[in-house]
Symmetry: C2
Subunit: 397 residues, 2 copies
């Protein structure tokens, strides 16, 4: 049995590339940018008026002039006009190009306009004020968004501004999620006493949706020849297979044997952790196989702890580790990494992790009460309130 | 001019209900649950074997017996069988119903089976071990998910388990996002010198998508009669209108006047904040109007600071405030609430907010460098490294 750290290293050393595709920019939120986005013009592209008011030649103001005849209006979206007489002014609107022969904008709040004469009511005017100078935020050719950025609303605005109506992003892996276990029936069915409804595959679908990966699901009965023929086809058609169940010591836990027969190389089986210990991971030339134990919490935490980082690294992004402060003493004796469910809260800039009580890896409903796992290392048994550990949050807006 | 706090109170006092709809459970991630989810059976629904191994009658073990003849196998998904002779055992699989007349499970790791006889190799066996008892996690009728919960992958698993293939969620508001400003051209166009491409509406579309709200967009030219007739129609067709631009002091900032003529009641205009000061907010009987200033950072921060909480309250959820520790001294003299762009990082359970340098509210590209705003109150001018303030994060996985 290997440690969580070793298991994670093996997973991260078998990342995969899925290629690049070009998609409409407005569909790209959550996807990973696979090109550099550069400025097609200076940012701003012209000396841009940043306050509604009047534009003047500062020399006139400096020489003591306070009243300026209004020569015209420079609206946003209109072609640049010129100030013909440097003793006059032009009314200017936010977003407009600064008129020629002017270099300073005084906002309406500091001006009174009567009979076509604008009189400046304050003395604290500085040259070039209220002008967002051409190129101040960036020069044509500057990199505005780096490759391998996860696209959010912030990036969408920049993509629109530089005219990238289509954008290159990492292709998503083609994923099949498979449940096994003859005790499982469909969500729409009424289970018999010894049966339960399928749920882990849907949890996995939703966890992958958070990564903007769409996936397919299948259920295979606990029958070796059927498992073999179906999985053989899936191995050819998908980049990743996720399984839930059939990897432990049970008589009908056929998956490791079936993988072996199909030439999927085992990279490890069993990790020193709770929950999620019987996790099996392997690969062939074209496909990765994450076979999670069938208990709901095991499947859930292993998807977050192994599949997520594997995906992030595969598409080229780094995700910062998050830590939180344990809010209660915890004792855990087994020599295993303990993934404990916690409720997070933010207090005075501190992230507090309060353990919730669950009834072990089968207690699906306990996931609803928490919003993260805190990862308690295997090298000690007593964890004190106030100590800091890595967390894996699973809710977010 | 009112304060940010007053403005927010007014916004939060004019929340709206959009009704309830029933959708397929697997499409419900990110939506707000509008019914209680209760257990349709006990959780687990039967005494569930939680380890692969053998099931025995504990009395035999207590009386010193260590070798048990294997009577049969209880697979997961098979009907419950019975142990006929209490001196024997039954092999049991994780997820199976516990066989009748047995009450304790010993995992395979602690048993050796030879010629149909299972010999237990350890003495530390406790009655009822490795059984997830019927009803331990919940009883039939227990509330598993409360109304007004934001549905995540954790809830999806529970919905599947209790057979909720369709689920009642809050309807989303019907939203129209409108840009104004004659300087704007389409993303696919090549702007003339004095023009720029539309970007704020797409940023807003993406910010709303984070809330799983789909929206429509329109552009209206800076012409009063056209604005009036188009907005009149939008007021009838949508629950919410978001505008970007035309609410400041410019000659072509027609929106406040047009809203007034159309009978939209102004609730406030201008908030003591930077950026985003000229924000206009109003309503009629059926529609809310958030008219944000046209600078990209102003539109962005006002959507997060006002529209988001308004939406959360409208659909019935509470969102906890997050705080972070300022990582540099900041000086800001104007008597305004200052929304400063920061980069967040997690260190030893502390959330650290490092200010990034931007060039004011027009500096769209600066949004890419940050991932939150920190909200610095207007009652002081000097903010010290180490002080804690509210943050508004805008990136998340």
């Amino acid at each position: 049995m290997i440690s969580v750290k070793e298991a994670k290293n093996i997973v991260l050393n078998s990342v995969q590339e899925f290629g690049v595709e070009e998609i409409p920019f407005l569909k790209s939120v959550g996807r990973i940018l696979k090109e550099e986005i550069t400025a097609d013009r200076d940012f701003p592209p012209f000396n841009r008026v940043s306050m509604d008011g009047i534009a003047i030649d500062y020399t006139a103001f400096k020489n003591g002039q306070r009243a300026f005849k209004v020569e015209g209006i420079q609206a946003a979206g209109s072609q640049q006009i010129s100030l013909y007489n440097s003793a006059n002014c032009i009314e200017v609107m936010t977003g407009a190009i600064l008129p020629k022969n002017t270099n300073t904008v005084i906002r309406y709040e500091d001006v009174s306009i009567k009979n076509g004469i604008a009189t400046i009511s304050i003395n604290a005017i500085t040259e070039a004020q209220n002008i967002h100078a051409k190129g101040k935020d960036g020069k044509v050719g500057d990199v505005l968004i780096k490759q391998n950025t996860k696209i959010s609303a912030a990036e969408i605005g920049v993509l629109a501004t530089v005219g990238k109506s289509f954008v290159k992003v990492a292709k998503q892996p083609k994923v099949m999620i498979v449940s096994t276990g003859d005790e499982l029936v469909g969500v729409d069915e009424i289970p018999l006493e010894h049966q339960i409804r399928r749920s882990n595959v849907f949890t996995l679908v939703s966890l992958l949706e958070r990564l903007h990966i769409s996936s397919e699901t299948a259920h295979i009965t606990d029958d070796k020849p059927i498992l073999k023929s179906k999985i053989e086809r899936f191995l050819q058609e998908y980049d990743v297979l996720l399984f839930s169940g059939a990897v432990s010591k049970g008589k009908f836990d056929f998956l490791p044997e079936v993988f072996d027969k199909l030439g999927v190389k085992k990279l490890f089986h069993k990790v020193a952790q709770r929950p999620g210990k019987p996790f099996w991971f392997g690969e062939n030339e074209s496909c990765k196989v994450f076979a999670f134990p069938g208990n709901p919490i095991s499947t859930f935490v292993n998807c977050l702890e192994y599949f997520y980082p594997w995906y992030y690294k595969s598409v080229g992004i780094k995700v910062e580790e998050e830590t939180a402060i344990l809010n209660a003493d915890v004792s855990f004796k087994p020599n295993l990494t303990y993934f404990l469910q916690v409720k997070l809260s933010s207090r005075f800039g501190h992230l507090i992790a309060t353990p919730i009580s669950g009834n072990g890896s089968g207690d699906l409903a306990s996931l609803v009460k928490a919003d993260a796992f805190i990862q308690l290392p295997n090298d000690k048994a007593d964890f004190k309130k106030g100590e800091v550990f890595k967390i894996i949050p699973y809710r977010s807006f």
